[in-house]
């Protein structure tokens, strides 16, 4: 199978910061809003280089989202940033009415999503954000897998007219996609060709899916790995074409199985081509404190969990 090289571990939020640096130079209408988390969102350089386009709202996310909606009136492209919990759940109604229903061109960019923010624990580890955001009509939902892809997605969404939720994280993870690659919203990426099982992964789980495919290959199992960086709109065609070949699927995400990628895939398959599916996701639970690796192990979100899920789904096939 095709091998991917990790060019060095780095956090996806730094990919966001790098993307913002570039947008600062290339898109003069891009403005950034931040609710007292400039360093955590890697916005220090943008704030330093473009102080007139950087808006510090203080610890007041609801006002930040409303301001971002208002700033679009007159042509700005606001990037409203915070931790994923405070950028979605805390401000759901502000996003719903002032951004989504009002059709405003706001980019909600959220770091520290999922379990892998680690020791801060469940108050900060949102596992419901993809569901919250994908249920909003007109909202595009993107969950890139590494530094390079996060940077590319950050840049690409500036040219998409409409609200976007961009989700990334805190831990250092392998960086393996192409540097300065083009990011196409809604276009799934075939990473590995296979014939026995389809593994659909998003965010941090994509690298684990690649590792799982390698381990499975050693056991004679041919896994197809697809990077679903865009949860909405889902690349129906890529998924259905793969399922046509493999006849079973494992979905992988750092998110509750309710409301996430897996559920979107289930809906697509139930309507078009029902096959057995296994979910690598959290099981309707909150997280807790721990290191990212400990948490991913305890909650079943790592390479080993994907291999086990593949074995389960193959047994049913």
């Amino acid at each position: 199978m095709k091998k991917f090289t990790n060019s060095g571990n780095i956090d996806t939020r730094s990919g966001f910061g790098a993307g913002m640096d570039e947008l600062g130079k290339t898109h003069e209408d891009v403005v950034a809003l931040c609710a007292d988390l400039t360093g955590s969102l890697k916005l220090n350089d943008f704030a330093k280089n473009h102080p007139e386009r950087f808006f510090q709202t203080g610890i007041a996310e609801a006002n930040m989202i409303g301001m971002a909606a208002g700033m679009t009136i007159g042509g700005k492209i606001p990037y409203a940033t915070s931790f994923a919990n405070f950028a979605t759940g805390r401000v759901y109604d502000q996003i719903r009415q002032s951004v989504a229903y009002s059709g405003k061109n706001v980019k909600i960019c959220a770091s520290h999503a999922g379990l892998t923010l680690g020791e801060d624990g469940a108050t900060h580890q949102i596992l419901e954000d993809l569901g919250l955001m994908k249920m909003l009509p007109g909202m595009t939902v993107i969950n890139p897998c590494d530094f390079n892809q996060t940077k590319a997605a950050t840049i690409a969404i500036a040219d998409h007219d409409g609200p976007v939720y961009l989700r990334f994280g805190r831990p250092s993870v392998p960086n393996f996609t192409e540097a300065d690659g083009k990011f196409e919203i809604g276009k799934a990426l075939h990473l590995v060709e296979g014939s026995d099982v389809t593994i659909l992964a998003t965010g941090h789980l994509v690298w684990h899916a690649l590792e799982a495919a390698e381990a499975l290959e050693e056991k004679g199992i041919s896994a197809e790995v697809i990077n679903i960086h865009t949860i909405k709109p889902l690349d129906d065609e890529a998924i259905l074409n793969s399922i046509k070949k493999t006849r079973c699927v494992v979905t992988c995400e750092e998110h509750n199985y309710l409301g996430g990628l897996g559920e979107s895939v289930s809906g697509l398959l139930a309507k078009n081509d029902p096959v057995y599916q296994e979910f690598v996701a959290t099981n309707d639970t909150f997280g807790e404190s721990g290191t990212p690796a400990q948490l991913m192990e305890k909650y079943g979100l790592n390479t080993k969990s994907i291999v086990e899920a593949v074995n389960r789904v193959l047994a049913k096939k």
Binding site: G66, G74, Q94, Q97, S98
Partner: protein
Amino acid sequence: MPNTKQLEDFVSQVRRDIVRQVHQVSSGHPGGSLGCTEFFVALYQEVMKRKEGFDMDGKDEDLFFLSNGHISPVFYSVLARSGYFPVEELNTFRKIDSRLQGHPTTHEGLPGIRIASGSLGQGMSVALGAAQTKKLNGDDSLVYSLHGDGELQEGQNWEAILYAAGNKVDNLIATIDLNGQQIDGSTDDVLNMGSVRAKFEAFGWDVLDVEKGNDIEAIIAGLNEAKSRTGKGKPVCILLHTIMGHGVDFMMNGHAWHGKAPNDEQLEKALAQNPETLGDY
């Protein structure tokens, strides 16, 4: 510029539009709409710098945001009669397939509306954002907003009020409709807010009262005074003392008509108190 008589005629027609819209579908919010009629007429017919037609960006013209979206009947009537869409469309208020939703929205593309409102407490943040964009664009026109007094109970307002003063957003004039009423009763009974003026001042705003909030000349004078205070490093707040239900005697002096429609007989009484001037839709 229209003279006072013309503005008062405009007000009378808008009051008719309000009660007729609400009566036709037996739903909607006449009380706050009637109380703010003079304010809307003053703003759109006299005070705001407006361009012909409508585009969302509204560059080089004043912008208005309605935060307490439930008083949509007065907003729709004044927008229609100010040329944003056909007056006949008021007939579609709250009906299926209409651009005139129960609460205002951009979603159906109604000219004149720049944000959805209805879920309370969000409009000041939106107005602030639009005001910041005007500054970035070097656009020296102003941003106006209107908020209910009960609406100030929503916490997001105070985030926005804090931000606006801390960041010297001085191209914003936020008006509070101080009618002292909300759904469950008087604001004093539901949640006593003490002095709204003292609160805004403590947060660093420049505050002025318009005591006669249903007197068109007094409102115009107040708005012009507020305009003269912009650009001086502080956001400006107008406390507009209105009477809920003003202009329809049996709807005044209480909260009963916040969100209640008149029956046929009540409609006739209300219309008799507000003569047709510009022509009913």
